[in-house]
Symmetry: C2
DNA sequence: GTTTGTAACGAACATCGTTCACTACGAACA
DNA sequence: TGTTCGTAGTGAACGATGTTCGTTACAAAC
């Protein structure tokens, strides 16, 4: 061996490496979003995330108590992408504004792996989640919706938004396999005995028409029409 | 050693054990529901399920290709508990019947661990899931809802039902910790800066009132009112 | 009584989240 | 300038997971 000394771990200073910046919560969250977009929620493992940051898995526990807490931060950071409606919008268009806001939320959340699953397992209380709730409540107040109805509406609407986002990310994961899913669903319906499932058989074509966005827009229009009734 | 032979594994015939019945898909699914109710969805591991059946984890793969396929069967079996509306109900009460059906579905699905998560990750196509869809379509047809609206409604309503069921099972898991969650949520709202979140601050009391069932009933009434408009 | 197909078994593999004893860096201090 | 010290970072280790696969033992068929 020509090495000057033979210290076992070969000390190789950290400065020899390309000046690794110190870890931060924000940096970890951004790296997690990168892994999330590339590999989905199940792909966001502590080891893969550490590899993305050129560190060790254990180091992440200095900044987050566990994976769930990290994913909660990731969810809130995803919500930061969501443009909130301006405050000076005409009051008469509150329903259209709210529909647009919620549809955009489905697209934004659904566009990041399956991060919506995080919001379906725990009530999000991050700053951006609260800002979204605040914006929804402001639009409902603009429409003259009462206190109790508005309170329940914001809860149930965000529940629906996250469910729709999860569905969207499930059937649009990197390569439009939506076609294959629709085709197999169509086959399933076609093979059903018409006497036992007469309505499914009758509507087997309509059941597979429309994109996720079409369906969500129809549903939100319908819900808001119901909310606006009294 | 006084043993007659010294064969290493000590052959101990299976008949020495209490006449274990052979495995079946139905038996495995029923055991899985038992584990699910006791320990939640994450508690349904292949090893724990095998232990419940006094067998080995690998044996389960004779009947199910993987854990997801098994859980899909579990979900469909849970739906078997759901009583479907009779066919001779008065047409005028289709909205009340549909509300009851969907609320009961939330209770039934939400009463079994977090099994609702299965339905939010893949479109259920089991016989009982199809029977539920058929029943919903029958009620919508009875109410004169058009083909396209009914088709999208059954999809979006079941999506909401599973999301609500998942939320219910999350905040009602073995011991009514719902109180603790509500209390901490109330604290969170109370500590929010009123100038940045004026509407949340104004509605901080209304936001935490009402059980999950109250909210779901209000939401479904509202949605069906919107569907019935045109 | 023999053969044979297959359900059941259990060890093994790769991977996961998490913990913890230890290292080495940078700031505070002498 | 030299020393101390708190802590961010490291990486091996642990227990548990889903899944695979070579082997075993049972029951039906011949």
């Amino acid at each position: 061996m020509a090495t000057p000394t033979s210290r076992p771990p070969e000390p190789v200073s950290r400065r020899a490496r390309p000046a690794k910046p110190p870890l931060t919560r924000a940096g970890i969250v951004m790296a997690a979003i990168r892994v999330l977009d590339a590999e989905g929620l199940d792909g966001v493992t502590m080891r893969k995330l550490a590899q993305e940051l050129d560190t060790a898995a254990g180091s992440l526990y200095v900044y987050f108590a566990n994976r769930d807490e990290l994913l909660a931060s990731v969810y809130d950071e995803v919500l930061a992408e969501l443009p909130l409606p301006a405050r000076d919008r005409p009051a008469a268009e509150w329903r259209a504004d709210l529909t647009d806001l919620l549809l955009t939320a489905i697209t934004v959340i659904g566009g990041h792996g399956g991060i919506a699953r995080v919001a379906l397992g725990a009530i999000p209380t991050g700053p951006h989640a609260l800002a979204l709730a605040e914006a929804i409540l402001a639009l409902l107040a603009r429409g003259g919706v009462g206190a109790q109805a508005a309170s329940w509406a914001v809860d149930q609407l965000t529940l629906y938004v996250n469910a729709a986002a999860l569905e969207e990310s499930t059937y649009r994961q990197r390569g439009a396999r939506e076609q294959a899913v629709l085709a197999s669903l169509r086959t399933t319906y076609a093979q059903l005995p018409p006497e036992r499932y007469p309505n499914i058989h009758r509507l087997r074509e309509e059941l597979v028409t429309g994109s996720g966005d079409d369906r969500a827009r129809w549903f939100l229009d319908t819900v808001l029409a119901g909310i606006a009734i009294p």
